[in-house]
């Protein structure tokens, strides 16, 4: 099983993490990091769109429903744990919870690389789920914050002139987030564009995709390690939550993928990864704008510093094992 980890994506992640830990002066250009994630979202979106074009409508709908269910329920579960087990204040709980209802594209892509290397087939609906799951979690996060805030909302509406704090504005943000646009847009292109024209762009979006992903993970490794310094500030409970929550989410995802969607081992693994991973693209900015009182170092440290590395190193192989086991039971 350890051999499963010996793929460039994971190894580069470890190297980036290591470089940061030993305080290497390795620098990653800011615009390269941003460029890589744009490229990856477009690449995966195009791929998903082309598959979707030949997909069966019925099962696509099921996947969407499952994605919405996970997106709306996971944050509530996370919120409950944070509030009543962790005694975390309502606003920070809301912000953190939203992250766990959403997904991590980087984790998802690492899982794809993981499966591909072992030639494990997988359904492509999870890619659509990836695009859908960003937004519902944001909405729940906002509603949770709204309730816990109460009166302040008034003041918010005054300040609404500033154009960003009215709930309506925030819902808009939930759907106009850059990464959501890129993902949905690329899926659309994959569906609409003529096969002949898509063939011309695939050497870029598909041919070098796995290599670009490995470079991206080098940077994510550095990002993750940078957050370690904040662990003390975040506290033992939250760090523990950052490991426990993906396990809970992963298990739920496995059941959804296996029982509700009836996916293959590959597909089930991907659904588990969706449920287990925490967003570090679409949700943080939404929370920063909607719940400014929450401390970004809490949710960013959990999402980037704890849950992401955990999933990449331990989670993915684990969910895969469990998916195989489930499949075995079924057979």
């Amino acid at each position: 099983m350890i051999s499963n980890l010996l793929i460039p994506a994971v190894l580069f992640f470890v190297i980036g993490f290591f470089a940061q830990v030993i305080r290497s002066d390795l620098k990653f250009p800011a615009d390269l990091a941003k460029a890589l994630s744009i490229y990856l979202l477009l690449g995966i979106g195009l791929h998903g769109g082309m598959e979707l074009a030949k997909a069966d409508f019925g099962s696509a709908v099921d996947a969407v429903v499952a994605a919405l269910a996970l997106g709306f329920l996971m944050p509530l579960l996370a919120y409950a744990i944070l509030r009543w087990l962790g005694r975390i204040d309502a606003l920070n709980s809301s912000a953190i919870a939203a992250h766990y209802g959403s997904v991590s594209a980087g984790t998802f892509l690492t899982a794809l690389a993981f499966l591909e290397v072992q030639n494990v087939e997988h359904e492509t609906y999870p890619i659509i789920m990836l695009a859908i799951m960003e937004s519902p979690a944001i909405i729940i996060g906002l509603l949770l914050a709204k309730f816990s805030r109460g009166p302040q909302v008034q003041n918010d509406n005054d300040a609404g002139k500033n154009g960003h704090s009215v709930v309506g504005e925030l819902l808009r943000d939930a759907f106009t987030n850059g990464s959501v646009i890129l993902l949905l847009g690329a899926i659309l292109v994959g569906v609409l564009a003529t096969p002949a024209s898509l063939k011309k762009v695939m050497p870029f979006y598909d041919g070098i995709f796995m290599g670009v992903l490995s470079l991206f993970l080098l940077e994510m490794g550095m990002e993750a390690a940078k957050r370690i310094g904040e662990f003390r500030k975040v506290g033992i409970f939250l760090v523990g939550f950052g490991i426990a929550m993906p396990l809970i989410g992963g298990t739920i995802g496995l059941l959804v993928g296996h029982s509700m969607l009836g996916f293959s081992v590959g597909g089930v693994t991907l659904v588990a990864v969706l449920a287990a991973s925490a967003s570090y693209i679409a949700v943080p900015p939404a929370m920063r704008l909607a719940i400014p009182e929450a401390n970004p170092s809490f949710y960013l440290t959990l999402s980037l510093g704890v849950t992401f590395p955990f999933n990449v190193i331990f989670g993915i192989p684990l969910y895969y094992e469990m998916a195989q086991w489930l499949a075995g039971q079924a057979a």
């Binding site: 800011a30 918010d156 500033n162 900015p285 400014p292």
Partner: protein
Amino acid sequence: MVKLVSEKLIRIIAAAELEAQLVELSKRRSVSGYTVVDARGAGASGIQPGLMDIDSNILFLMVVPPEQFDEVMEDLAKIMRRGHHMMVLVSDTEVMRRKNVSVDKPGV
């Protein structure tokens, strides 16, 4: 000699997510313009290494005439009151704009 006008330089250090709101503020208060520089850093709200859109800061500059100063600051305070992490630096500065240099006069 060139004529210099005394104005207020307002520097705002904030998370990149706030750029849209700050631009909107400058327009609402019809400030003559603004300048933005990408930045990274660290503070009470954690490290902002500037590698992703979500962990980047900006340095937002506005030069405003004294009469506009108070209302702009009040708007900034309003944003802060909603809980946003920002740092606002204010200082007096002498400004040379095109309107100050007589364009018709040939170069001295």
